[in-house]
Symmetry: C3
Subunit: 349 residues, 3 copies
């Protein structure tokens, strides 16, 4: 019942070039260390060539540059890591969507659910919502009124999408995701906060994946926008009116404040933060744990990590950070003194 | 079917002064850039006066100081931003609560649900819980035993409130909120952790809003307390026995450790942290991404952000942070040497 | 109906030594400040001895060193804090698990649910899943296909466990926990991200507690592992293929990136972060808000907190952090100049 492919069948589907026996049958993918003889492995970094010697894999995916590093049956690819991803997808297809609406689900009036879609147990579909072909709405999901979800979506259990939000095709949303909750909009009125209604939506493009417990707030007046191909890890907070450019990838626990625009093809490390109303250019990399406090106009890599050390060293060193301006002033004064001293004592210098 | 108001009707309800045609009919609120002729916009910062020239808005809210900056019909207000919030609330009323208990909901014995309250599909109400007038318990919410919720609450889908917690009037809680889970209480016993039962509650005042996936733990022995008018954004963690003072606003992803007391009218930026057992005074502002490691006794603005830079600059600069104490020592030594050198060579100085 | 015990009964069960009247009846535990005459309190730090004078507690738990600090009936223990935890557990037993499957729950075919287990309202149990004796699956939980859960588990409402994950005995998982969602695995293919199937599981040992809205991702190829006795607070993100060693405790909002191994008996402070592919030794303590960017081979305490200050001081001081390398260069130059100056002017020195 397990899916399996000959090397030749894999190459016929995914491209690449075979060296060695093309008739090896592959049932799964694994690391070089763990792979068995019916499994294929991969080398994505020449640095680990040494591991090829001991692998028990039945075949290996590697780059042309590493083609001679093993005698095993192998597939040569320009991009072994992407090739590995594709082979794994071939060997590990998602379970088929079973069309139909579970008897415990609740469907609002006027909702349009494609006949090939699946609405799982305990899910709630709001009035006038539309669920596209082959889409799966997992157990206990709540889809608000007028929400539109494209085709081939996979919503894992307990995703919530608030009213009026729009989602493209191929969305993957993991459990606990909340799309379209109110943005954090309050105005101060005589010492108390009054709520600003959040009347925008969340609009999500195609091929987006959203990790567990990530939250994306609806816009205050206009929309929050997630463009095509964006990949969001777990526990990310996207505030109202943020726009995330196509094919940007963001690691876990990142917080993005309101009205910030992030470019395309950016990569943002875990637990980073971006303040509100900023513009981040395309192709920007932001390190983990870095707060971006002003706009970044130029592609490149940006870091703001405070280095850790042993507690006793940290105590000794960090105390000076509250006196940096004084230290800098003392250096300046030393320079002036030395200059005047040098001038006075060493006229020839 | 859309709500609409004449300018004169708005002012009759909300106060302020009209300049220009009071008969303009307004159906929605929008930014100066996006507004159409049946929409009202607002200017909250004189810096953006220039945008008034090109707006297509039918009317504008602005301060007396900006009253002459446009000929459009306009409402003059001392606080245009709060006025904007109120107009938006007028134009965008929440959907009415539909009284009644959905047939798929499960109601525990002895629960008291006001006849004007709404219990949505798949919700579970625990034994002896009380739900006040006009309150809406959204789809899939779980309300524990003995919980008391006041009037006009809006719990969006999938909020959980554990047993015995108490909530005032007008609570807004977004999806994924968890109120009253156990605090993180463990004691070390021969190298293993044993659990300390968390027997306090969470007690929440009136007019509190809690963002998506925010968690507020129950107290260990006494209660965790959220006072009136507190506004919490998404993904905030409030540990056991924290007290948050009235009208304090906290942005997303903030973590507050156990037994800390935060004053009234504070503002805390996104992803900030506050260690446990601290006291934060009233009217304190804490910047995003700042860790507060000791109590703050004085109102004011506090920051602890490590500035970001290009990766190559960061590498060059940050390496010295592990040697700050040595650098400071070298400055001191230079000062001493220079002093002794100056004394010896320049007696006249 | 409240549980109560004589001091003598407590000591008979939990050990320790009584001084004073052993017949005091105790109904609850409380702080020294709040305790009444039918309550027991505790002193875990001699620093707070002064509070003993005014307490109204009926009895106190304290160490031998503090035995003479009060005349109250008292229990002497080597570890008063652990003793307090045990007394509290005695006085505050969890509600009994009521065996049975709620009529609104949905049970997949082939699922094996122990006759003593409880499946609450709206819960969904996947095909072939196994739920052990005395385990409670709370309201709205979703347990995936083939999941195995041991005995005495307590899953609070709305926990999700994805397919194939394995959990030991005595798990406590709070609301909103997501176990086994896909890790964040993507490969770049001509500027777009393609998904890497996540085919590992999450494997959790015995006696683990997981706080509200914490997420633990399934492994990419092999498993993510949480060993026995690990305690996780709320809103923690554990990425794919992380291993957390036995009896490690992690505070709220921590993010741990992929393939990192954390040792046993570690303690990690709130909002800390650990980058991927690192090894953290046993008995390591990491401070709150600290990013660990390289492996730690040695037990001890590590910190990387940027100290906060008043905003105006921060502005003056932090600006120099972008010029640290220049400042260090200027110090070095001063040293060289002074040395050459000293040599030239003070040959005798």
């Amino acid at each position: 019942m397990t899916t399996s492919y000959l090397l030749s069948e894999i190459v016929a589907r995914l491209g690449g070039q075979i060296l060695g026996n093309a008739k090896v049958r592959i049932t799964q993918i694994a690391t070089l260390e763990a792979a068995c003889s019916d499994q294929i492995s991969f080398l994505t970094n020449s640095k680990y060539r040494g591991q090829l010697a001991n692998t028990k894999a039945g075949a290996v995916i590697l780059s042309g540059a590493d083609a001679d590093a093993t005698d095993l049956p192998r597939i040569i690819s320009d991009n072994p890591y992407a090739y590995f991803a594709k082979v794994s997808a071939l060997l590990n297809p998602l379970p088929e969507v079973r069309p139909g609406i579970h008897p415990t689900a609740t469907i609002g009036s006027g909702a349009q659910i494609d006949a090939t879609a699946c609405i799982a147990a305990m899910a709630v579909i709001g009035e006038m919502a539309k669920i596209g072909p082959q889409s799966m709405i997992g157990e206990g999901c709540c889809i608000g009124e007028n929400v539109i979800i494209g085709s081939h979506a996979r919503l894992y259990p307990r995703v919530v999408i608030y009213h009026d939000c729009v989602v493209g095709n191929n969305l993957i949303a993991h459990s606990g995701v909340v799309i379209g909750a109110d943005g954090f909009g309050v105005a101060l009125d005589q010492g108390c906060w009054i709520k600003i209604p959040q009347i925008g939506r969340v609009v999500i493009g195609d091929d987006v994946e959203i990790g567990a417990n990530t939250t994306i707030d609806r816009g205050a007046l206009s929309d929050t926008v997630i463009e095509d191909g964006v990949k969001l890890d777990n526990q990310i907070q996207v505030a109202h009116n943020v726009r995330i450019g196509a094919h940007t990838a963001i690691a876990g626990c990142v917080g993005i404040a309101g009205s910030t625009t992030i470019g395309r093809h950016c990569r943002i490390g875990g637990s980073a933060g971006i303040l509100g109303h900023l513009h981040i250019a395309d192709h920007v990399e932001i390190a983990s744990f870095t707060l971006i406090g002003k706009s970044i106009r130029e592609a490149g890599s940006y870091v703001g990590i405070f280095p850790f050390s042993k507690a006793e060293d940290w105590r000794k060193n960090s105390v000076h950070l509250r006196h940096m301006d004084e230290l800098a002033g003392r250096i300046k004064k030393l320079e002036q003194q030395l200059k005047s001293l040098g001038t006075e004592t060493l006229n020839s210098e």
